[in-house]
Subunit: 203 residues, 2 copies
């Protein structure tokens, strides 16, 4: 049931806000009334920031990460090791890995994972462009950094097969107990895997 407001401007703002994920019409109305109570600067700042974001951001031609330029800052940085490519699912994963400050290579954003049940096949993802990047030479290692889920493993395996025959080392994220997690709370599959894949003790 659509509620009707006396003001067209309010109706419009509520409808637009309600299109955001996880925001229903009730929440949208609460947000709109909140914005009305703030200084004009606050609402105009938010509105402008959203428009500028969408109009100013594009995707890197090389790695498909979000960027304000044709080539993103990571790919354009001469200090980054272009011979190591970390394959991730989303733009957000790039941020997560960047925040670890443990990686000096570059990325390749797939834009999703293979999931036949959701109708997402390899062609909907940036897999061909990854193979092309590898074919162009200069890449020594492809790191598969996808989620350890059914879809992630399927995608890992698909890419691995596509890369067979190319002169490139394919690695994947180590799997094991999470740092800071108690053994007691770790699931059995992870625990078993961490035992099988045990590594020499490092002090």
């Amino acid at each position: 049931m659509e509620q009707e407001f006396s003001s067209k401007l309010l109706e419009n703002a509520v409808s637009e806000l309600a299109r955001l994920p996880g925001v229903g019409r009730k929440t949208a109305l609460r947000l709109a009334l909140h914005l009305l109570r703030q200084d004009t600067d606050v609402a105009v700042g938010l509105g402008r920031a959203i428009i500028d974001l969408r109009e100013g951001i594009t995707y890197c031609r090389v790695c498909h990460n979000i960027s304000e330029t044709e080539i993103c800052p990571v790919c354009a940085n001469p200090a980054r090791d272009k011979s190591k490519v970390c394959v991730v699912e989303t733009v957000k994963d790039v941020m997560s890995f960047e925040n670890t400050r443990q990686f000096d290579g570059v990325y390749h954003v797939l834009g999703g994972l293979i999931s036949p049940i959701d109708g997402i096949g390899p062609d909907s993802l940036e897999i061909d462009s990854l193979i092309e990047r590898v074919s162009n030479g200069g890449i020594k290692e492809v790191i598969l950094a996808l989620s350890p889920t059914m879809e992630g493993d399927t995608t890992n395996f698909y890419i691995y097969r596509k890369l067979m025959g190319h002169d490139v080392v394919v690695t994947q994220l180590s799997r094991g107990v999470s740092v800071g997690n108690e053994i007691d709370y770790t699931d059995e599959v992870t625990l078993g895997r961490s035992l099988v894949n045990r590594v020499p003790f490092a002090k």
Copy 2:
């Protein structure tokens, strides 16, 4: 800890979205990335709707309800009975009562309730303007439609005292069991009140 994004536009959008009530930086990032995945029209539509809302909406000079004009549609409507004024806390309450389609009078939005603990005194609210409206004549009934809470009752009583000596009938919302609620789930105070204030049976 503030996360830093490689893009200033993204950083700005996340910061602005995170100022919304109930939206933290994680949710703000999720919303921003969602908007990036949509067509440009969607994000620009949302941004424009927010700016237009704040710049186009003002408050009715008479009742302090939101309005796109100096006098809101309710106050400007010749079919509404100007002799009955329903006093409410917020703009949202006006919408709730309008949705009932049971009221043909006009409103007066206080903008809050008296709450000494939150530093809200009568002077922060539109109470003087209500008394002035009544003093100007033409109003026969003031309906106190505030929440049945401590603050609501305090505000009700304050307004009631201010209106003493004016030639006006002061009424308040009936209190009793909610329609559709089971007796079993109704609190004792409400139940007691509904018994004391019982009314003749109407079929």
